[in-house]
Symmetry: C2
Subunit: 347 residues, 2 copies
């Protein structure tokens, strides 16, 4: 039996609650299939308040040896500004391990009611995860003065753009053969025109994939007006961030939105985390929806080569929601939803 | 009787169709109230193909003397790249005339069915319109090579940020007293942290306005999950662009989304234009929805001080849609919808 070494970073707030739920489900699906060991790291805003940093100096090196990383959520804005907590933990891990493809599936689980009248959509968003608008390049001049100027520079490299688009084309090929590339090249004439050019170059190579070019503004409208027309969507760091929260919303809320930060070359571990944040207001109350966190476990299993276990977790989630468990906020506790998924797994 | 001098730029595609409709309605509402003269400028992609530029060199100076500018839509990507047509006409006008506040109302008109289950929302989006992510600053290095890098720099000035936020606070004060400021300060630590700081400074001044800070990703989710919680929304150029197309979608489509590019100091003319684009595929077919264009006329009248005429146009639009006219694409021709609005005005 294979043994997987997993690094856990429960993080802050409900990150802890849902990581706990996710690991229970992992334990249940592992039985008879594989073994795993977890090492839990307490890196979080609490850790920051004690140590003045979100993770130890050798944090990245510590994580490097694991087969995968599982993260709950990071952030506790009342004590540590998000711009510090995220730049000190989540974002550096994505960059250091070249987890350049952030994969986020959006569809309505059985039994879940979304905010849209439209229902039959099945979208796979691929978000660039290491550069672009979140490069962290910029500065402020004349700080605090009347003539202050703040600049923030988006940086797009050909290698960075090409690899994420190629990943998107491959995903489209393995699904319904359609790729939507999202930019804003009518207003951002350097970065986004460049992205469009690379898309066109690759399209000539992937002739079996049909490609649509959409602007981000038209795209958010499309996501709510005709989501059923979309298959694979590929976008920059910021645009992917926006589209995947919108995707989460149309699938019923952030509690249902899973995410995988993938290093496709496997030169370093990938990281799996629900899209939602740490939600300090509901932390520790046994009411967070663990579905996104559990779905992220399914993504992790798939990445580790445990396709059958991955599919089992997804079916178990959907068996629970089809029974009406966890389909609306406040309906069930975190524990009840987790138990329902495990029961379905073991049935 | 007052006479207004209006500059018309019908532009491309359905821009021409809806400008025509809008001017018919303006003619009807003017009767007995005010006089107006229009001067039409053929600046468009067709103009570009003949003259190598979107407007004459003295275009801006030509427009300066008018009381207001009315624009249909710009762009014909099959012949002129959007990055050329928009940077040659629409964007320079917004900047040159300091039309820094782009005002876009989002609510469901009577009779119109939106894509959401939610209904009773009434949102006023205020978009920064002159700088930020659409500053046009950037470049490309090693073009066409493997090591190519494209950069695009967002530029935010204190004056630019403060004036748009102040405008937002004032609007909130005149409505339901709530302002939502949208940034992404957890990932963009220069520009967006700066914006948040200025928001907090002003909030201390406008103690009668309640302020929420939202990240753009959480905000797009909120727009579809709980739009009824929103009153006035203020955002940067890019974020406002995205939110207002989403706002258009939830109000039933781009055919219903009006927009005013306002110079609040009145040191230069303001410009009124529907949010939708030129839609080349349906141009000239008498099927474009003129409601957004007509609603933009109401915004223009309000800006010109004709509050009563403005309200009359809005009621007439809603009388038409309440009768089922123009509430779905394909239901009525442009002419029929226009005639229904005029009939309601004259009733
Ligand atoms: C917390 C934040 C920095 C993060 C991001 O924008 O990457 C989150 O919104 C996400 O989508 O994973
Ligand atoms: C056409 C484009 C440049 C424009 C913008 O983004 O400003 C449009 O989308 C709008 O919203 O007015």
């Amino acid at each position: 039996m294979k043994t997987y070494n997993l690094a856990l970073i429960p993080g802050d707030g409900i990150g802890v609650d849902v990581t706990d739920a996710a690991m229970k489900v992992l334990g249940a699906v592992a039985k008879g299939r594989f073994a795993f060991e977890t090492t839990s790291f307490p890196w979080s805003c609490e850790y920051y308040l004690k140590h003045g940093r979100m993770m130890p100096e050798d944090g990245i090196e510590t994580l490097r040896g694991f087969d995968a990383i599982y993260l709950g959520a990071v952030g506790w804005p009342a004590t540590v500004p998000d711009s510090v907590s995220l730049h000190g933990l989540l974002l550096p891990i994505r960059k250091a391990f070249n987890q350049y493809a952030n994969i986020r599936p959006h569809r309505l689980l059985a039994g879940v009611e979304g905010p849209l009248k439209a229902e039959g959509f099945d979208i796979l968003c691929i978000r660039e995860n290491t550069e672009g608008e979140y490069s962290g390049a910029g500065g402020r001049v004349h700080e605090g003065k009347d003539n202050e100027v703040a600049v923030e520079t988006s940086v797009f490299t050909r290698a960075g753009v090409e690899r994420i688009l190629r990943f998107g084309f491959e995903q489209a090929r393995s699904r319904r053969g359609h790729l939507t590339s999202v930019t804003k090249s009518n207003a951002q004439k350097y970065s986004m025109v460049f992205w469009d050019e690379v898309t066109r170059e690759l399209a000539a190579e992937y002739t079996d994939v049909t490609v649509s070019h959409m602007h981000i503004d038209a795209m958010v409208a499309k996501m709510v007006m005709a989501p059923q027309d979309l298959d694979v969507v590929v976008a920059s760091n910021l645009f992917g961030d926006i589209l995947t929260d919108l995707g989460a919303a149309i699938q019923g809320g952030l509690g249902f939105a899973a995410s995988a930060n993938i290093n496709p070359d496997r030169s370093a571990p990938s990281m799996f985390e629900p899209v939602h944040g740490s939600a300090p207001d509901i932390a520790g109350k046994n009411i967070a929806n663990p579905v996104a966190a559990i779905w992220s476990v399914a993504q992790m299993l798939d990445h580790l080569g445990e396709a059958e276990a991955s599919a089992a977790v997804l079916s178990a989630i959907e068996a629970a929601t089809a029974n009406g468990i966890g389909i609306r906020p406040g309906l069930n506790t975190t524990d009840e939803i987790t138990a329902a998924v495990i029961a379905a797994l073991e049935a």
